[in-house]
């Protein structure tokens, strides 16, 4: 069955430090992958997506993600984290025209 794995439930980083959130997918030779961010009690906002082409994808708010087929990974990165980045981040893969989400990673930012 298709699955998206986010191995880290919680991550804490210092403001200004770099960030990498891990995501592994399990289905498809040409996966369609997404990263969403969710602030408490809010909806899901799309940060970036990968359909094909360049494996390094740029998103909003200074985020980027790199698709690595050999590792079945689509890790999200940001060079310098801001306190406003504290939220929950979901990796998702399109499967049969719907999205399958990972369990999410809660990001805490300490000053």
């Amino acid at each position: 069955a298709q699955s998206v794995t986010q191995p880290d439930i919680h991550i804490t980083v210092s403001e200004g430090a770099s960030l990498e959130l891990r995501c592994n997918y399990s289905y498809g030779a040409t996966p369609y992958l997404f990263w969403y961010v969710q602030s408490p009690g809010q909806g899901l906002q799309l940060l970036l997506k990968y359909f094909s082409g360049d494996t390094l994808v740029q998103g909003i708010k200074g985020f980027e993600a790199e698709f690595k087929r050999s590792q079945s990974s689509f890790n999200l990165r940001k060079p310098s984290v801001h306190w406003s980045d504290a939220a929950e981040y979901f990796c998702a893969q399109e499967y049969g025209n719907k999205l399958v989400f990972g369990a999410g990673t809660i990001l805490r930012v300490k000053s």
């Binding site: 369609y32 997404f34 969403y36 009690g41 809010q42 909806g43 899901l44 906002q45 799309l46 997506k49 359909f51 979901f90 399109e94 049969g96 025209n97 719907k98 999205l99 399958v100 989400f101 990972g102 369990a103 999410g104």
Partner: protein
């Protein structure tokens, strides 16, 4: 720019009551998806509609039903509510099916007491 509108934003119901959640997709979007996100959980796909026809079905209980209307808005009807139905219900819309970016609404938070 217009986004996906969900109403109500918050809803409190008692066990065994019914609830209706509404979703208004982005103009010219013809596909609507419903997701359920339990406390501390990831969103789970419930059901989707394309051009007013059900296109896919996920882990939606038999007590729930949904439809898409001629103006493309969708309603999720939930009957015989249980405590476990308490969750954030998201609607998302896209244009066409597959390989496109789904825009999510803010969600309806349903609390069953």
């Amino acid at each position: 720019a217009a986004g996906v509108i969900q109403s109500p934003r918050h809803l409190i119901k008692e066990k065994r009551e019914t609830a209706t959640l509404k979703c208004y997709p982005i103009p010219r979007h013809d596909t609507v998806y419903w997701y359920q996100q339990g406390p501390g959980q990831d969103p789970q796909f419930l059901i989707s509609f394309y051009e007013k026809m059900q296109s896919d079905k996920g882990s939606i209980p038999d007590r729930f039903s949904a439809q898409q209307f001629s103006d493309y808005h969708s309603e999720l009807n939930m009957s015989s509510l249980e405590l476990g139905d308490s969750a954030l219900y998201f609607c998302a819309s896209t244009s066409g099916t597959g390989n496109t970016e789904a825009f999510f609404g803010q969600g309806t938070r349903l609390t069953v007491v």
